[in-house]
Symmetry: C2
Amino acid sequence: MAVPPIATTQSGDLPRGNAVVGQSGGPTSVINQSLVGVIEGLRSGLHAAGVVGRVLGMRHGVKGMTRGDYFDFTDTHQDRLDRLACTPSSGLGSTRDKPDAAYCERVLDACRKGDVRYFFYIGGNDSSDTCRLVREMAVRSNYDLRCFHVPKTIDNDLMENDHCPGFPSAARFVAMACMADFMDNISLPGIKINVVMGRHAGFLTAASALARRHDRDWTSEGIDSSDGPQLIYCPEVPFDTERFIADVDAVYRAKGRCHIAVSEGISDSKGTPIGATLIKNAQTDAHGNVQLSGSGALGDQLGDLLKAALTPAGGKPPRVRADTFGYVQRCWPDPSPVDQVEARRAGRYAAQLALAGQHDGSVSIVRQGSGSELWLGKDNGQPYLATYRRVDLSAVAAKTRHMPASFFQGHNNVSREFIEYCLPLVGPLPGFERL
Amino acid sequence: MAVPPIATTQSGDLPRGNAVVGQSGGPTSVINQSLVGVIEGLRSGLHAAGVVGRVLGMRHGVKGMTRGDYFDFTDTHQDRLDRLACTPSSGLGSTRDKPDAAYCERVLDACRKGDVRYFFYIGGNDSSDTCRLVREMAVRSNYDLRCFHVPKTIDNDLMENDHCPGFPSAARFVAMACMADFMDNISLPGIKINVVMGRHAGFLTAASALARRHDRDWTSEGIDSSDGPQLIYCPEVPFDTERFIADVDAVYRAKGRCHIAVSEGISDSKGTPIGATLIKNAQTDAHGNVQLSGSGALGDQLGDLLKAALTPAGGKPPRVRADTFGYVQRCWPDPSPVDQVEARRAGRYAAQLALAGQHDGSVSIVRQGSGSELWLGKDNGQPYLATYRRVDLSAVAAKTRHMPASFFQGHNNVSREFIEYCLPLVGPLPGFERL
């Protein structure tokens, strides 16, 4: 995974000053790898070259920056950085603030006040939009501020990226949880619903399919879904409760049990989230998003729906249980090895972009070798290989990438193409024995 | 951890016939270790000696046995047994059936029909009671059936045991989840409730305290709860909602955030579970227990309670989130190393009891070396050491062990004694870096 040389077409005089780096949005298990990658890249590059003075971390993102609340990484010992990199969640603290023009003006004032010339922001599509806004405002006011975005999201929904740092580790948690929970479902049969994070994109819910045994799952028609989860519902496919009940009924009749993965973001044909309509006292964040995580309401409501619909006349209701994986899926301290390496390198690459004289940009991960056929035991595959490139901030900012149609099989399953896409990312999964 | 020689005071002629082994109740991450331990112990002992013919596994416990539904382990390859031992959940399938006299008569009929003379049952206090009933019925009908119970419960609530196989692994999951989730709570501050399994005993909820940094947590007065969870609520202490709100308010005012662990089994001063009163359409099992797991209702209701009580007049409600750890805590495929070894040995010890001529009994785990001072970095501790002994079935059957008073500190915290008890069991925990 060598980092290719960066074209320096936009290079020129590098402004002298300080650098800031911040973390924004929902934490992940590897976002501190990216933080440390930026710090390492700056210290060994622009700082060593005498261009950058202090390397400062924003406490709680731009919110802390406007208050001058920094952690100074310029002289932090490498041992401490290495421990920080292996610590889940955002070490600097995060923020859900979505800056408007007035807010960005305060960020820019903080840059002027702190002699900041390099601005790095690790986050999702809202964070890249913040980066873009601050950069545009700096350009308009003739303040030379170089702005770079480092991708991070367990939702995996950033444009221009094969996948995003944070997603592989969350996918690993979801796959392992579904593997183990399916064994539980075989042991004490019933209907089990697992609710997975992902507001608009279904990648993380789809990763539940990795829980199946892939050496046996493929038939000439596609996937034999005898292993759980047998039913997978992503936000990209409109959710129809009647069809859902019929799906579950069919599996439950055939097997006496049913294992289901549902995205928290499933929505009806009008785009209304099923969860949002069910959650009482729903909270909204600064982006106007209704709170979907941190509540078991969607799973419980779907469970009640199934109990009511599938109870035979005069008979006992089926055993129905619902779990909502919750925040542990984004911060579980056993990240994917691939994810750890890539998150670190993405951060370092952003610092290298600055060193190469780029004025702004977002780091994108490009897959060179698919790795998938190899991982599935075939001999005609290439080893998995990721490289990094610069893309314009506007190509990523405030946009959402969805699961492509080729990743779906019908309305309640994923395709083999998705499995081959996802399997190389999550790291080794345990092998279970069944009697 | 050598197994001491077993007294053979009750030995005599060993009846010749087959052996059965079954799993009952909620699965754990290591219950298959115990299953394989029993099989190994029988194959190398009574089977090798020509006393036991077939070693049979009951499919779904006594339920499968009454139908003659067995898996024959007599010739299963050791490699397959080793893989099975590392597979979470009950490989043979489990059951929630609680046999009465008529049911036990059918179990005994199945023994006679299958020439079964050795009966092993892996489970909690209900399973040991089944063992006791079947044994008493066999004695009354002059059928020589040797009955042994192997302890298993994530709730850790069996009498006569220092701790129970299954608990250390579940405690490991809870500790790691709370460690990571506390980092999340620091990163995006708010009030976070985590609901932990445990109907009557608070051991598993108490294990959330292992998430704190123990090198810094101890003051002369006891625990400095600056690390989360700051508040821990177990079923042994009557839960008072007004006091709960006041507790959270105090931490939230002081820190701007609050991290809370709550047992699913918390009950009011009359013994009514808080969860049971809140869950609509509650299901009950054959034991008359209301379903507490597989629902997010308790966490959501406690969250709503806090939002309503802590919203300032005319102001915004605090950010409140609730996660219910759910079934992954009992089947997460990264079990405690100590638990894996002990669960295997507990199964093997039961087979050795039979070989030694015992007629019945339950295996209990006794701690010899505390290990705790050593684990906490002191030099006056002994290494952790567990041994095994036989106890009467009636000493364990249908009884519940609660957290002793010395494990509590006040109504919302655990004592240092609990930490020293629990820490050696869960295996190495990751170290996190905080800025």
